[in-house]
Amino acid sequence: MRDRLNSGPGLVLVIVYGIFALSAGARATVQITTKFDEAPEAYLLSALAALIYLIATVGLARGGAFGRRLALVCCSAELLGVLVVGTLSIADKAAFPDDSVWSVYGRGYGFIPLILPIIGLYWLRHTARADRAAGTH
């Protein structure tokens, strides 16, 4: 279904989220299947992050009320995740021996993991307002 959420800039968000879902997912799969014992928490965290990116991609691509709700939950979880993990990874380096996508606020990925949920949440709000103004909701 095409609506305001997955049109224009929304579709740009879909491809960016898709790239993150795919690369984070591939990385987490490899980490968990080949060296899980080295840093189980970090790798499970990577897998969780990948799952959140994947669901956000689906929500944004799907559009509609349900897609919007999925995307809202995932973008919020992502922002919380990157802030909490980012802070903990600086405060307690020993707890995060192996880099995850959210370590040091996503520094390994050009801080995009920090910026992306903020843009996502802004876009969700922006389109919700536009929809309300147009009376389609």
């Binding site: 049109s7 579709l11 491809i15 795919l22 591939a26 490899v30």
Partner: protein, 121 residues
């Protein structure tokens, strides 16, 4: 990994990315030149992949084969997905989608190189 092919993909993707960026700035939807450009980048990416896979079968492979293959999937999927999404969006944002897809390709080449070199092979 074959560095020449990596450089070819990088240069081609940057050139097509620039073309798409200019179109986006000029408020133009993606045109045929952008789609053909992205398709050529995909062809170069396919050649790189085939050469890398042949090398891996021949025994010349990175330690983290899994990670390398994982990134290869992202690498191969990106141009077609970008083209498909850009076709859905015949506005300037379609050009932005292709710009993003093309500018991420050099990053993926760098990552693939990095993973390959990590072995010292």
């Amino acid at each position: 990994m074959n560095e020449t092919l990596g450089a070819v993909v990088t240069v081609a993707a940057l050139a097509v990315g620039l073309l798409c960026l200019v179109a986006a700035i000029r408020n133009r939807p993606p045109d045929l030149s952008q789609f053909v450009g992205a398709a050529l980048v995909e062809v170069a990416a396919l050649v790189l992949t085939v050469v890398a896979v042949v090398a891996m079968i021949g025994g010349d492979r990175p330690t983290e084969v899994g990670t390398f293959v994982g990134y290869l999937f992202t690498f191969l999927a990106l141009p077609p997905v970008g083209i498909a999404l850009a076709r859905l969006e015949p506005t300037r944002w379609g050009s932005v989608i292709l710009t993003v897809a093309m500018l991420v390709m050099p990053v993926l080449v760098a990552r693939l190189n990095q993973i390959w070199e990590a072995t010292g092979a």
